[in-house]
Every structure is written in C-alpha cells, then in structure tokens.
C-alpha cells in the first residue's frame, strides 16, 4: 500500500478561517523542523489506528526564523502543531473536514464533518501533541476518556502526535 501523504502545505479545504488553519500548520512545521531537520521537509510517519499501522509521509514547508521565534514555547507549539497535523491527517485518511470549534464541555476541541455524510453527522475531534519522552499511548487513553466524558454524545476521534519519534507516530482511535 502506498504511504499516506499527509501534507501540511495542503491540509485540506477545512471550514476554518485560512489564517487560523495556516497558523496551525506553520506551528507544526516549526516543531517538525526542530526535531527532524536532517529529513526536512518530509519525514517518515506511522499512523496507528485500531490495532493496525499504516506508513505515511508527513510533509511541511520549512519555517523561517521569524516563524521559529514566534513558536518558541515548546508545550504550546506541540499542542497547536498537533492540531495542524490532525487536520491534515483526518482529511487525507477519511475526508473529514474541520467545521467549527467545539464548545467547552463537549469533550472535544473541534467538530468535523465527512464529505458526503448526512449534514447532521457531526464527529468530534480531540487532539494532543507530545514532544519528548511522554507516553503516547497513555496520552491517547486520556484523550479517549475526555471524549467519552464529554456532554456531546457523538462519535469522536482521539488523535495524538508523537513528534520526537522517528518515524513520527500518529495515534488515532475512533470512539463510537
């Protein structure tokens, strides 16, 4: 099977303001460039989902110094950058589009809609990013738990990006 091409320079036609979408992808690029400079602008990636694995290539646009300086906060960058990777991933893997920010208490960060699905078939998206040694599987379990505890009872996707590893790991779990 061909590797899934997750392209941060073309993350999909999401329903977010273009500047906000570009911002998330730019932050992801800063994190990836810092951790995988020798492979820039593309790194091998493993998408883990439902017990299976799929190889992928994660591509980004090289950030300039101004962009690197603006995203020096590692924790914030890993969280916002993970959102950029998540948006590009759900688009490439399932044709999900981000439609709106989820409300506080819904258990999710974002609400998605799949191309061609019934108009009220909203899916929740909960995202996290890790830079360093934190356990990605533990983080994924936490995100799944947050989705299950949320007040909005709709299907969800929990997604965690482990930026530091090579290949980069994207852990995705569907929560019915």
């Amino acid at each position: 099977m061909e590797p899934l091409r997750i392209d941060l320079t073309d993350p999909g036609p999401h329903g977010l303001p273009p500047s906000k979408l570009a911002d998330r992808c730019e932050v992801a690029a800063v994190v990836l460039e810092a951790l995988h400079a020798e492979r820039s602008p593309e790194v091998d990636t493993c998408l883990e989902r439902g017990g299976g694995e799929r190889s992928a290539l994660l591509r980004w646009r090289r950030p300039d110094q101004l962009q690197r300086d603006a995203n020096a906060n590692k924790l914030k960058a890993s969280e916002e950058g993970a959102e950029g990777v998540a948006f590009a991933t759900v688009w490439r893997s399932d044709q999900y589009l981000v439609k709106m920010r989820a409300y506080h208490g819904s258990g999710a960060d974002w609400l998605l809609h799949k191309v061609g699905a019934p108009p009220d078939a909203v899916v929740r998206l909960e995202v996290s990013g890790i830079v360093g040694e934190a356990n990605a599987k533990t983080r994924l379990r936490e995100k799944v738990q947050e989705l299950r505890a949320g007040k909005l009872r709709r299907p969800g996707i929990a997604l965690v990006v482990a930026f530091s590893e090579h290949p980069v790991r994207i852990l995705l779990e569907d929560v019915p």
Binding site: G15, L16, P17, K20, K99, M100, R101, A102, Y103, H104, G105, S106, L111, H113, P119, D120, V122, K151, L152, R153, R154
Partner: protein
C-alpha cells in the same frame, strides 16, 4: 444547496472563539469575554435559521449558549436557551436536555432578583462583578 455546516457565520464564530481563547491566554480577560459573546451571537443566529436537522440545530444552539456564558453573558445565555426551548421539536431530545441543564445552572449563577428593585443594567452580572473583584484583588496583591 450549501451545507448547513458551511454557514459563514460558523466560520466567523469559530474565528472569534479562537481569538477569545488567545486573548484569555494572553491575560486579556475582558477582551476575551467580549469576543466569546460575539461568537455566541453568530452561532445562535446560524442555529435559529436552521429550521430542519434538529440534531445539528441542537449542537449549534448549545455551542452558542455555552459561548455566551463563557463570555460572562449569563443573561444572554439564558435568553438564547429559553428561546430555543420555546420551540418544541426544533431540537433533538438530547440537545434539549442539555440546554435545560445549562439553563438551570446559569439561572443559579445570576443574583436573586428583588421584585421591588429597578432592573439592573445588563452589564452588571454576577460573573463580571466576581471577575472585577478578582482583578482588584490581584492588583492589590501586586
């Protein structure tokens, strides 16, 4: 026909909600609250115009009501929730239940009304006065 989730008011509302989060994170609580309230109005307007699809309408309605409350505008949150709940069948049962729960919670957050007292200006909400007290306390401590 355009999809309901492609309503430009939702995109604009999300934009404002993200700006509100950023303002809050940067320490501008007042600016953040104002942006949340604006985002709420857009979500609510989109929900009101959605006359079919009760499940989706409920998601938008609850989003708008929650954003208004996050902006400290419990008066508006209550007004929005009451208006949606006044249209039976326009929301799915789960969404209606969620709005009922929020309504009860926000009513508790507002000060008891003295029937003899003149109506207070809408800005004088419990949330705001608490927030201002906190801000004053913070300044005094500094």
């Amino acid at each position: 026909m355009s999809e309901p989730l492609d309503d430009p008011r939702l995109r604009q509302g999300s934009d404002l909600a993200l700006d509100a989060e950023k303002a809050e994170a940067d320490g501008d609580a007042t600016g953040g609250r104002a942006l949340y309230a604006q985002a709420a109005a857009l979500y609510v307007a989109a929900a009101r115009d959605l006359t079919s699809l009760p499940r989706l309408r409920a998601v938008l309605a609850v989003s708008g009501v929650c954003l208004a409350a996050r902006g400290g505008r419990f008066d508006r949150a209550i007004e929005y929730a009451e208006r949606f709940l006044a249209e039976p069948g326009s929301l799915d049962p789960e969404g209606a239940e969620e709005l009922e729960t929020l309504l009860r919670s926000y009513r508790r957050a507002l000060p008891e009304k003295d029937p003899e007292a003149p109506a207070p200006p809408k800005e004088h909400l419990l949330y705001r006065s608490r927030q201002e007290t906190r801000e004053r306390a913070g300044r005094a401590a500094a």
